[in-house]
Symmetry: C2
Subunit: 350 residues, 2 copies
């Protein structure tokens, strides 16, 4: 069969290191061959050329079957990197332009990984849930502005935009995912008691679409209460659906309680397949440890598994997951391996 | 000296029970006498009369020296209680009308209370920080709206409003509080890389006001990274300043990791004293356990201590805290006392 085309955006910092390992594992695990094209985008390119994501590059990327991204971002507080320039101009632009409305973030406490939660919390049950975070709306649209900037009369606004179109489709996706899981449970997380306009839309569509899925158990919790449950009873969650900003917040906490963002994978999925989906670790570019082979490539490797799954190779995806699991279970606590050693070890199991 | 006038809003569910204990302890601890007026506001009143907060009642409340609030809110999903009606109409209306721009939420892991965090996290240091949450702006203003409600073309917006006026004053308050603490450390939590308009305003004022406080160490973290630090290294925090919504989220997580919202106190403070400040436990009305004397009144009692402190009685406030500490240290794990027994025990120590 024709090779699968991959647009690879290694990015900055530890991005290239972890992406190399993800590709290494993908190549071993995949039943299809990949044809990768590398796109140098990120802080380095911006600082060198002033370019963030040229339209022509976006057009090329769009022609691929999928995108693998490492991490993007320069040194913290680099005065030459205006805040948000890469986030808004590159990462979010890709998510928005390619209509990645399902930002998929599985959370699982893998055997062998160390949770910051106490034994009495972990005893309540296995942590194994997935967050379906809306990816193209909410407070992430860049709507809003500022007036009289730099004066005592400055006013700055951020507008959370929520449409029935956008909310319904992500809720539908979440119900479909919940339906395929053994527990079939879906939790809506929002702040309906304060954000009443958006909250009412989310709540109504959650109920309406729910009526078509009588086999899915549902509940609703406010974002603040979700914090408490994440810390005290994360086993209660199965599938969570939430908006773009709440999803950002919840998934970092979810990553923390399941052993850290070194393990958290994500997919920016376009379920309608009108454009390529993009897979990336949740962690950032960690410039402080870049180039030292200290980064854990596991999250990038697991993001590769999500990519395979999205392309229809569920078995190969499961094989990567199993290899990661086995590797994690055998990691000797207190020791650390080089980035490429971790990739080699996982690839060797496949 | 003239008695201090208190407007007492016991509210719904467990609100009246915990408020009674807070008043019991306040009366024993306070160097001044209180003259309390009780205002029946909340779900019950709304369901009985359709009234949330009549202007005349607000005018009366405004004339008091301080407000003590229990908890407000009816049964979950009561069809007769539109979402947000009490939150927007009562709680937030009080915070906004009385200009409670500093929502003060101390977090401390008291000896004897059980954190959901593992020993290896707790070993990193004592958890003892305070969140200064902005209380009158951000996504809480009720700005925004909805169009074509109930149709597939519905659009709903929520506008986060941030003014130099509002942001600067809360940042000034936070620096002043940081300066009085031994560690003198202030952390700004925001999402400047995505919410660039509001983020730039917060960041600039944080830097500007910081220049006047060279003795305060500062840092900045994104709200998502704050989640990770809360779960893995909460001892790093001293004072946190953040916006209304991020503050809501961070403080519930903070309450969870320090033993639960049964212990979390808060003050809605008007530092300029142009109107009475309001003190309330962070927890809700918990209608499921109401009237059974099961609620832990500790958060309400500690809110009373914040009230005394605000009124200038720092010693009496410290005495309540010490009594609570002693009580917590002696709570036998696994046993439970009635609400009034806890109040009696703490009062007896004073
Ligand atoms: C880098 C940032 C724009 C991004 C987000 O907020 O979505 C990141 O935190 C994430 O979760 O992928
Ligand atoms: C009840 C609700 C409006 C309130 C808030 O969001 O501020 C509560 O969660 C709190 O933290 O005091």
């Amino acid at each position: 069969s024709a090779p699968v085309t991959l647009a690879v955006i290694p990015g900055d910092g530890i991005g290239p290191e972890v992406t190399a390992e993800a590709l290494k594992v993908l190549e071993v695990a995949s039943p299809v061959t990949f044809e990768s094209t590398r796109y140098d985008l990120g802080a380095e390119r911006y600082l060198a050329t002033g370019e963030v994501l040229p339209d022509s590059v976006l057009a090329e990327i769009r022609e691929h079957d999928a995108i693998l991204l490492g991490a993007v971002g320069g040194k913290p507080n680099d005065p030459n990197l205006p805040p948000g320039i890469l986030e808004r101009g590159l990462l979010l632009r890709l998510r928005f332009e390619l209509d990645h409305y399902v930002n998929l973030r599985p959370s699982r406490l893998f055997p062998g990984s160390v949770s910051p939660l106490a034994e009495h919390v972990l005893e309540r049950g296995d942590i194994d849930f997935v967050v379906v975070r809306e990816g193209t709306e909410g407070p992430y649209t860049g709507n809003g502005g500022a007036l009289r900037v730099g004066t005592p009369a400055e006013i700055a606004t951020e507008v959370s935009v929520n449409t029935a179109y956008g909310v319904e489709r992500v809720i539908r996706d979440a119900y479909a995912r919940a339906e395929k899981r053994p527990r079939k449970k879906l939790t809506l997380v929002h702040k309906t008691n304060v954000l009443t306009n958006a909250g009412s839309l989310w709540w109504r569509l959650f109920e309406q679409v729910g009526a078509e899925h009588p086999d899915v158990t549902t509940d609703y919790i406010h974002i603040d209460a979700a914090m408490i449950f994440m810390a005290t009873d994360p086993a209660r969650f199965d599938v969570i659906v939430t908006d773009n900003l709440f999803g950002d917040i919840v998934t970092d906490l979810a990553a923390a309680i399941t052993g850290g963002i070194g393990l958290a994978a994500s997919g920016n999925v376009n379920p309608d397949r009108t454009a390529p989906s993009m897979f990336e670790p949740v962690h950032g570019s960690a410039p402080d440890i870049a180039g030292q082979e200290k980064a854990d490539p596991t999250a990038a490797i697991l993001s590769g598994a999500l990519l395979l799954d999205h392309l229809g190779h569920a078995d190969a995806a499961a094989a990567i997951e199993a290899a990661v699991l086995a590797d994690l279970a055998e990691r000797a606590p207190g020791t650390s391996r080089r980035t490429s050693e971790v990739g080699d070890a996982i690839a060797a199991r496949l």
